[in-house]
C-alpha cells in the first residue's frame, strides 16, 4: 500500500518535466490526475475519484490539449530558461518544501485521531449535498452557466 503511494509520488514528481514541449507536460498532468484519483480511492472517496477522472482527465485536459494544438506553440524549443530565475525558484521552493514537511512531521497530525470509520460515503455525500449544501450547489450551477456564456463571448471573433 505504501509502495503504491510512493509510486504515485514518483509519477507526480515527473509531472513537471523539463522537456520543452507543452504536450508532454499535458500528458504527464493527465497521469498525475489519474494517480490522484487513485489516492482518492485509497482515502475511500470513491465519488470524488470518479469526478476527478471525469472532469479533470476528461474535460479539462481535452480543453488544454485543444488549446495547445490550436496555438501551435513551436517556438518554445529554442528559448532557454534563464539561469537566475531557475536557481532562485529552486531555492525558494526548496525552502518552502522544507518548512512544509518539517512542520507536518513536527505536528504529528494523525497522532490523536482515531482510525477512520466512515462507510458508505457516496450515499451520505449525496444526502449532505442535496440537503445542507443545496444553496451552494445551485450557485455553482449558475456559476457554470455564467462561465459558459463568458467563454462564448470571449472567443467570438469580433464583438458587436
Amino acid at each position: 500500500m505504501f509502495a503504491f503511494l510512493t509510486l504515485l509520488c514518483g509519477v507526480l514528481v515527473v509531472a513537471n518535466p523539463f522537456s520543452r514541449n507543452p504536450v508532454t507536460s499535458a500528458m504527464f498532468l493527465v497521469l498525475t490526475i489519474i494517480s490522484m484519483a487513485g489516492l482518492f480511492v485509497l482515502l475511500h472517496a470513491f465519488f470524488l475519484a470518479a469526478v476527478q477522472i471525469l472532469v479533470y482527465a476528461g474535460a479539462v485536459m481535452v480543453l488544454f490539449l485543444f488549446v495547445i494544438m490550436l496555438l501551435d506553440l513551436k517556438e518554445e524549443e529554442r528559448r532557454r530558461v534563464k539561469k537566475f530565475s531557475l536557481v532562485g525558484g529552486l531555492i525558494s521552493v526548496g525552502a518552502i518544501v522544507t518548512i512544509f514537511v518539517k512542520s507536518i512531521l513536527a505536528a504529528k497530525p494523525g497522532a490523536n485521531l482515531s482510525a477512520p470509520r466512515l462507510e458508505g460515503e457516496t450515499a451520505a455525500l449525496g444526502k449532505l449535498l442535496f440537503t445542507q449544501y443545496l444553496l451552494p450547489f445551485e450557485v455553482v450551477s449558475v456559476l457554470l452557466l455564467v462561465a459558459m456564456v463568458g467563454v462564448i463571448l470571449l472567443s467570438k471573433k469580433d464583438l458587436k
Binding site: M1, F2, A3, L5, T6, L7, C9, L12, A15, N16, P22, S25, L29, T32, M36, F40, L42, L43, A45, L48, V51, Q52, V55, V60, L63, F64, V67, L70, L71, L73, E76, R79, V81, L86, G89, L90, V93, I96, V101, I104, A107, P109, G110, L113, S114, P116, L118, E121, L125, L128, Y133, P136, V140, L143, L144, A147, G150, V151, L154, S155
Partner: protein, 117 residues
C-alpha cells in the same frame, strides 16, 4: 514495485503499514511545491496554467485526507465544489489565453510587458 516496498520496510521511520494522515499531507505539500516551482520557473502561459491546476489538486488532496481522518464529509463536499469551480475557471482562463494569442501572437509571459514601467 517490489524494490521500493522492500526499501521502505527496511527504513525504520517509515515502517508503518497503512499510510496515515501525515503521509498524505507530505504528498500534498510536495505536489503543491511542484506546482509552485512550475509557476515560478516556466515561462509558457499554458504550462504555468497547468502548474496552477497541480497546486489546486494538492489542496484537494489535503482536504480529502483531512476529511477522511476526521470522519467528516464536509471536506469532500468542499472538494466537489472546488473541482466544479476549477472546471469553470479553466475554461474561462483558456478562453482568455486564446483571445490574448489572437491579439498578440504569443503565449509567453516575457512578451507581455505592456504594463511594465
Amino acid at each position: 514495485m517490489q524494490a521500493p516496498s522492500l526499501h521502505y520496510s527496511i527504513t525504520p521511520s517509515l515502517r508503518c503499514m497503512t499510510p496515515g494522515l501525515e503521509h498524505y499531507l507530505v504528498v500534498s505539500a510536495l505536489l503543491f511545491c511542484l506546482g509552485l516551482l512550475g509557476v515560478v520557473t516556466r515561462r509558457n502561459l499554458l504550462v504555468m496554467y497547468m502548474s496552477l491546476e497541480l497546486m489546486l489538486n494538492a489542496a484537494n488532496l489535503a482536504l480529502v485526507s483531512f476529511s477522511r481522518f476526521n470522519d467528516n464529509l464536509n471536506g469532500q463536499i468542499l472538494v466537489f465544489f472546488i473541482i466544479t469551480v476549477a472546471a469553470a475557471e479553466v475554461s474561462v482562463g483558456l478562453a482568455l489565453i486564446v483571445a490574448l494569442y489572437r491579439k498578440r501572437q504569443t503565449a509567453h509571459v516575457e512578451d507581455l510587458t505592456t504594463m511594465k514601467l
